[in-house]
C-alpha cells in the first residue's frame, strides 16, 4: 500500500507537546542561522525530558551545544550572544535550577535594553521544564513563573497545548526581548493537533477554551487543562463555565478576562504556583481595581498551590497543588456563594 494512504490527513496531524517544541526548534534553526540551542544534556542525551531529541544529529554540535552544569554561565552566555547578533534558545534542565541563573536573567537580560536607553536588545529564549506531579520533590517541582512576571523587561509564557507550544516558541524566537517559557513536565507526553508548517501564536493573547455564562475560570499551562476537565463535569451539573487559558503571564491579556467576568459575574483563578503573592493575586487585584468589579456577584476565588514546598509522598504531592476535583468543588461553592 502506498505510504500516503496510511498517513493521517494533514488536519488531524498529532504531535506530543515535546515533539511540538522540538519541531519549532528545528524549523527555527532551519530558517535562521542565528538560532542555536544550548543547555545541559541537550545534545546526544536529547535533553532530560527528551525535548531536543535528535536535533544534535540534524544540526550538529555547534548549534545544539551541551554545556557544563553552569546555569549562571548558560544564562549569561545567552545574554552575550543575544546582544551581539545571535538568537539563542537555552534550556534550564529543571525550572528550579533557574535560581542559580537569577542574576543574569533579572539584572542583565531584563534590564540591558532599558539601561542602555534602547540601544541594545536581548532576543533570547529560556525554556524551563517546571511543575509538580513527577515525584521529584521540593527542588525539582516548583512553579516559579510568577517570580519572572514581576520583572519588567521579561516576557513569561505558559503554553498548555502542543499547538501553542510550537507556535509560542516560534513567536518567542522572533521576539526582540528575553522570553521565558515555562513548560509543565506533565504536558510533554500530551498529544494534540499541530500544523506541520511554521506558524506563530501571538504573545500576550489568551485563548477562550470553553465558552460559558455562569463562572469564569482562568488558568494557564496544565491548570488550563484541569479547568477544562472540571468545566465539562460542571456542565453535567448544569453549570456553564467559561475557561480562559492565559498562555502568557506577562504580558497578560486582561481584556479577555475582564470581558468574560462582565458576562459571568464570577471569577476563579487557578494556578500551580504557591497561592500567596501569586498570579491569582495580580488578576484579582486587576479586576478589583477596574470597573468590572461592579459586575461581580461573589468574591473572587484564588485556587493556588499550598504554601509549602512540593512534598515527595504522592498523596501529599497531589494535595499540594489544585486538582480537577478541587476546581470542580471550588466552582460549585463559588456559585452557591453568588446565590446567597
Amino acid at each position: 500500500m502506498p505510504s500516503e494512504l496510511i498517513e493521517a490527513p494533514a488536519e488531524l496531524r498529532e504531535l506530543s507537546y515535546a515533539e511540538a517544541v522540538r519541531e519549532a526548534l528545528a524549523q527555527a534553526m532551519e530558517a535562521d542561522s542565528r538560532v542555536f540551542l544550548f543547555g545541559e544534556d541537550v545534545g546526544v542525551y536529547g535533553g532530560a525530558f527528551g525535548v531536543s531529541g535528535d536535533l544534535v544529529h540534524r544540526f550538529g554540535a555547534e548549534r545544539v551545544i551541551d554545556t557544563p552544569i553552569s546555569e549562571l554561565g548558560i544564562a549569561g552566555a545567552a545574554v552575550g550572544a543575544a546582544i551581539t547578533g545571535m538568537r539563542p534558545v537555552v534550556e534550564i534542565q529543571f525550572s528550579d535550577f533557574v535560581t542559580l541563573a537569577m542574576e543574569q536573567l533579572v539584572n542583565q537580560a531584563a534590564k540591558i535594553r532599558f539601561m542602555f536607553g534602547g540601544k541594545a536588545s536581548v532576543p533570547m529564549v529560556v525554556r524551563l521544564p517546571g511543575g509538580s506531579g513527577t515525584g521529584a520533590a521540593a527542588q525539582h517541582s516548583q512553579s516559579l513563573e510568577a517570580w519572572f512576571a514581576h520583572v519588567p523587561g521579561l516576557k513569561v509564557l505558559q503554553p498548555s497545548t502542543p499547538h501553542d507550544a510550537k507556535g509560542m516558541l516560534l513567536a518567542a524566537i522572533d521576539d526582540p526581548n528575553p522570553v521565558m517559557i515555562f513548560e509543565h513536565k506533565l504536558l510533554y507526553k500530551t498529544k494534540g493537533h499541530v500544523p506541520a508548517e511554521p506558524y506563530r501564536v501571538p504573545i500576550g493573547k489568551a485563548a477562550i477554551r470553553r465558552e460559558g455564562t455562569d463562572i469564569t475560570i482562568v488558568g494557564s499551562s496544565i491548570m488550563a487543562l484541569k479547568a477544562q476537565a472540571a468545566a465539562a463535569r460542571l456542565a453535567d451539573e448544569g453549570v456553564s463555565a467559561e475557561v480562559i487559558d492565559l498562555r502568557s503571564i506577562r504580558p497578560i491579556d486582561f481584556t479577555t478576562i475582564a470581558e468574560s467576568v462582565r458576562k459571568t459575574h464570577r471569577l476563579m483563578v487557578v494556578y500551580e504556583g504557591v497561592k500567596t503573592m501569586g498570579i491569582g493575586a495580580e488578576i484579582s487585584a486587576m479586576i478589583a481595581e477596574s470597573e468590572v468589579f461592579d459586575f461581580l456577584d461573589a468574591p473572587i476565588v484564588r485556587l493556588g498551590g499550598v504554601d509549602a514546598p512540593i512534598p515527595y509522598n504522592p498523596v501529599l504531592e497531589k494535595a499540594a497543588v489544585p486538582q480537577e476535583d478541587d476546581i470542580f468543588a471550588a466552582a460549585l461553592n463559588l456559585l452557591r456563594r453568588g446565590e446567597a
Binding site: 552566555a77 552575550g80 539584572n107
Partner: protein, 340 residues
C-alpha cells in the same frame, strides 16, 4: 584602534625596554591622551558631584589608567569590551566621547543611555562597548556568549571583559572562565586587582596570592602584571588578543593596581592607611610613563604638557555640553522596557 607596532621599532630604540620600544609615537600619544582624559573626566565628575550638579554615586578609577588604556590598545575597531561598575576608564580607553559620557552622568537625554543608566551603565554598543555593569562579575558570563557569537559568525573579533579582584571570588568567574576555555572562545579576561573589594583586602578574601594563579584551573595562560606600567600591560595584552583572535582561546590578565579614591562616595577609608595611599600615588601610571618617555627623549616636556592641556580642554567642554542638555521627559519613562 591602533595596533601596536613591533619588530623594526625595537631595533630603532635599542636602549629602551622592548615593551616601550614596541610602541610608536602615535600610539603613545593616543595612550597618554586617553589616560589624561580618564583622569580628568573622573576629577571633573567628582567636582560636579561635590557641587551638587549630579546625584547618585560613582566609582572612580583614578590611579588605574594604565590598566584600562594598556589592555585596550591592541583592540581593533570591531572588537568588543565588557566593563565594570568602575568603568569610565574602559569606556574612554575604547574611544567613547567624553561629552556623551558626561551627558549620561548628568542624566540627560543626549547621554549614551539617554540618562537611563548613569555612571554604572554607560554603554556604547555601536562602538563595541557592551556596557559597564552594576553587578560584580556580571559581565563575565556575558563575555562567554559574545565569544560564542564571534565564533558562530566567524567574524574574527575579540571580546575583552574587565572585572575586579572581588569578582574573581564570584561563581560567575569560575563558570565563565571554564566555559570560555573548553570552547576556546576569543575572550581576554582582564582582572583589575586594585587590592580591595570595597573594604575587604584581597589578601583576606582569596586563598591564593594572585588572581592570575587561578588561570591554571582553566588551562589558560595567566599573566600577573604591574598594572601601572602602560607599556608592560600593552605588551601582554597584545599577546593575549592575538592568541584569542587566532583561535588559541582565552587568557587571564591580572593588572595589579590601586584606586586612589575610595570605593564610592560613602567610603571613609577606614580600612587602609594614608601611607599606603601615598605609596601608590607615587606609582602614578601617567607620571611614570611621562618620566620614562622624557628619559628616552621620546617626547619633550612641552609636548607632554600639551597632551594634558588638550585633554583638560576636552573635558571642560564636555561638562559644559552636558550641563546644557535637556532632561528626559517623564512621559517616556517606560519607552525602552521592551523592544517592539
Amino acid at each position: 584602534m591602533n595596533d601596536i607596532k613591533t619588530g623594526a621599532a625595537q631595533i630603532a630604540r635599542p636602549n629602551q625596554r622592548p615593551e616601550l620600544a614596541a610602541l610608536d609615537d602615535a600610539t603613545l600619544r593616543t595612550a597618554l591622551t586617553r589616560m589624561h582624559l580618564i583622569r580628568k573626566f573622573e576629577e571633573a565628575a567628582e567636582a560636579s558631584y561635590m557641587r551638587g550638579l549630579i546625584h547618585g554615586t560613582m566609582h572612580l578609577s583614578i590611579g588605574q589608567e594604565a590598566s584600562a588604556v594598556g589592555t585596550t590598545l591592541p583592540l581593533q575597531a570591531q572588537d568588543y569590551i565588557l566593563s565594570t561598575h568602575r568603568g569610565h576608564g574602559h569606556c574612554i580607553a575604547r574611544g567613547a566621547e567624553p561629552k556623551l559620557m558626561f551627558a549620561e552622568f548628568f542624566g540627560k537625554e543626549t547621554g549614551y543611555c539617554k540618562g537611563r543608566g548613569g555612571s554604572m551603565h554607560i554603554a556604547d554598543v555601536e562602538g563595541g562597548n557592551l556596557g559597564a555593569n552594576g553587578i560584580v562579575g556580571g559581565g563575565l558570563p556575558i563575555a562567554v556568549g559574545v565569544g560564542m557569537s564571534i565564533k558562530a559568525q566567524k567574524n574574527g573579533r575579540v571580546c575583552m571583559v574587565f572585572f575586579g579582584d572581588g569578582a574573581s571570588n564570584e561563581g560567575a568567574f569560575h563558570e565563565a572562565l571554564n566555559m570560555a576555555s573548553i570552547w576556546k572562545l576569543p575572550v581576554v579576561f582582564v582582572c583589575e586587582n586594585n587590592k580591595y573589594g570595597m573594604s575587604m583586602d584581597i589578601a583576606r578574601a582569596m586563598a591564593v596570592a594572585n588572581v592570575a594563579d587561578r588561570a591554571s584551573a582553566y588551562a589558560m595562560p595567566g599573566h600577573c602584571l604591574d598594572g601601572n606600567d602602560l607599556a608592560g600591560v600593552a605588551a601582554v595584552a597584545r599577546e593575549a588578543v592575538a592568541r584569542a583572535r587566532q583561535g588559541g582561546g582565552p587568557s587571564l590578565i591580572e593588572c595589579k593596581t590601586y584606586r586612589w579614591r575610595g570605593h564610592s562616595k560613602s567610603d571613609r577609608n577606614l580600612y587602609r592607611s594614608k601611607e599606603e595611599i601615598e605609596e601608590w600615588r607615587a606609582q602614578d601610571p601617567i607620571r611614570r610613563l611621562e618620566d620614562e618617555l622624557k628619559a628616552h627623549d621620546r617626547f619633550d616636556a612641552a609636548a607632554l604638557m600639551k597632551l594634558e592641556e588638550d585633554a583638560q580642554r576636552e573635558i571642560d567642554a564636555a561638562v559644559e555640553f552636558a550641563r546644557t542638555c535637556p532632561d528626559p521627559d517623564p512621559k517616556d519613562l517606560t519607552r525602552d522596557v521592551y523592544a517592539i
